[in-house]
Amino acid sequence: MQLWNLLKQVFSRPLGCISATVLLSLYAAAVCANFLAPYSTNEQDLTRTYHPPTQIIWGEGGLRVQAYALVDPTEARYAPIAGQSYPLKLWSRGFEYKILGLFTSDRHLFTVADPGGRVYLLGSDSTGRDVFSRLVFGARVSLFIGLLGISITTIIGFLVGGLSGYFGGRLDFWAMRVVEFMMAMPGLYLLLALRSALAPHFASDQMFFVIVVMLALIGWAGTARVLRGMTLAIRQNQYVMAAESMGQHPLVILRKHVLPNLLSYLLVAATLSIPGYVLGEAALSFLGLGIQEPSASWGLMLSQAQDVKVFYLNFWWLLTPGAAIFITVIAYNVLGDVLRDLVDPKLKKRI
């Protein structure tokens, strides 16, 4: 009930409303990637490499896609062919996919039915794959890594921080030494070392989970430390002592009396630290150490933009994944700030 109220308040603020809407639509796009994308992640077309975004025009009673001819193959220059275009069909048939792993469907928001034409909303990459389709599919990896990672971090952070704050003593001492050790290490360096050790033991389609686990393993220390401090303070309250004297199990106390008090902090901290995971994945994949081909992720797509040819010939559309990362991060930051102001303005100093 409380959560519902909070949500209403977020939407009543202009910034909160905008950022929440942006995030919701990004996630919706990621979930419906199969429907939104006209092509699958790896549908190549080697005759159309580095194709610029195709123009969508109106004519003959519907939307049409401008046809292009390759003028200069060495520089990958394309020119529109005057008067030639292909019809863009809405709600049409394309590649087959499964909904929830149960039903098969081949409907797409838009496709070009004509075998000679292709629609590239955001151009094509070095093997003629549609950047827009890959962007939508990549959103699945890049967006959900944040949600999954933060859940793991929060659980570990709460367990370690809560238990060591509650019990104190030797457990606390050693847990905090481990936390300090984790915090003293240069994160990105450790990430690189971890990845080089773990990667060969996993197949490329399991890489997603390996990365989530790695990012979570590195990120939990900060959360644990703050939660320990807060648990220490909450512990002093009379209701905790009352619960103790009634003989309640420590874990029950942690869950029933401590956790609800930490919830608002956890919510705000989680929202503000999700961008860290999105960026972490992007950085790793960008370095070629994260998500591997043939999967798509925003970082991986950006790494392909790191090519002298791209720089000199101005294939700007290959940088769109960076814009997508930027929009996600800024939306999360704004939402986190709005949440923090709503939940507890005093938190501002701590986070």
Binding site: F181, A184, M185, P186, G187, L188, Y189, L190, L192, A193, L194, S196, A197, L198, A199, P200, H201, P275, L279, A282, A283, F286, L287, L302, A305, Q306, V308, V310, F311, Y312, N314, W316, L319, G322, I325, F326, V329, I330, N333, V334
Partner: protein
């Protein structure tokens, strides 16, 4: 003070031991070693490979290797880089200097811009200027560093105003002293901007918040009440107090810059410590990885130590020894 510094440096020992051991375990978990590519070549004699394996202790389990490596390090021998065919100490020394130069530039760049911006934003609170600066800072904080670097490379390639990468030009060795300095500066501009923009935003925000906090303090009211001019109040009383907490972030910023430079260095192909670390991880150049991780850790701890010392210097109310 000296006791405090010594104690902090002593905590470095378990930290370095722990992290090097961790890296050792991680690297031994990865299949193959830095000899794998050599073994794949047909023309390298078996005897040579075996000799190297024995010399580096590669035929033994990781803890024996670790023990051997540790013994060498304690005698000041960081080992030999396989990929670069150089002693690791020389290699790291070279790279450390370039990274240090970049960090220093980014640091100066961000502070020189951020402090006046933060002060102005606080003095003209809620004005158009304040709002624009706040929005810009927000944007800057949300751009991933490596993406910013990528965009800068794009910009450099399109305009041709800046070199695309590296720390020096090809003909660097044949230039005069001034030309060499100019060349270095020219190569430093893009990495400095890519690295500095994020910290400009964060320092500016802290500065603005501090300044606003201090303006509300009672001694400022007193200063105004006794008839001091507004400029004197702002610069002599408010600014000095507001900048105090930032001085401690001096050290943190420093340690952060060194490890934060990794992505920027890789994208802009700046030959620094981060790039070295990345390449040697890919090549399984074990001793270089170990040494650069150690260096990174060392810098981090040193930066934090510097932060504490500076804070104690700038604020006499803080006593380091009496903390516990």
């Amino acid at each position: 003070m000296i006791a405090f510094i010594l104690r902090r440096l002593l905590t470095l020992i378990p930290l370095l031991l722990g992290i090097t051991m961790l890296v050792f375990i991680l690297m031994s978990l990865a299949p193959g070693d830095f000899l794998t590519p050599v073994k794949a070549q047909r023309d390298v004699p078996q005897e040579l490979i075996q000799a190297i394996e024995i010399e580096f202790g590669l035929d033994q389990p990781w803890y024996v290797q670790y023990y051997k490596w540790l013994g060498n390090v304690l005698q000041g021998n960081l080992g030999h880089s396989w990929a670069y065919k150089l002693p690791v100490a020389d290699l790291i020394g070279q790279r450390l200097w370039t990274t240090f130069l970049l960090s220093l530039c980014a640091f100066v760049f961000s502070w020189v811009i951020a402090i006046p911006l933060g002060v102005l934003a606080a003095v003209y609170k809620d004005s158009i200027f304040d709002r624009i600066v706040a929005a810009l800072a927000y944007t800057a904080l949300s751009i991933p560093e490596f993406f910013l670097a990528l965009v800068l490379v794009f910009f450099a390639a399109q305009t041709g105003w800046f070199p695309l990468g590296g720390a020096t030009s090809l003909d660097y060795e044949f230039m005069g002293l001034w030309a060499q300095l100019l060349d270095r500066a020219h190569h430093l501009i893009l990495p400095t901007v890519a690295l500095g923009i994020g910290s400009i935003a964060s320092i500016m925000r802290i500065m603005r918040a501090n300044f606003l906090d201090t303006i509300a303090a009672e001694f400022v009211t007193t200063a105004r009440a006794k008839g001091l001019g507004e400029a004197s109040v702002m610069f002599k009383h408010v600014l000095r107090n507001a900048i105090n907490p930032l001085i401690s972030s001096f050290g943190f910023a420093f340690s952060g810059l060194l490890s934060g430079a990794l992505m920027v260095e890789i994208v802009l192909q700046y030959p620094g410590l981060g790039q070295l670390m990345y390449q040697s991880i890919l090549r399984e150049d074990q001793f270089v990885v170990l040494a650069s991780v150690m260096m990174g850790c060392f810098m981090l701890v040193l930066g934090n130590l510097l932060a504490d010392i500076l804070l104690a210097r700038s604020d006499p109310r803080i006593r380091l020894e009496g903390k516990r």
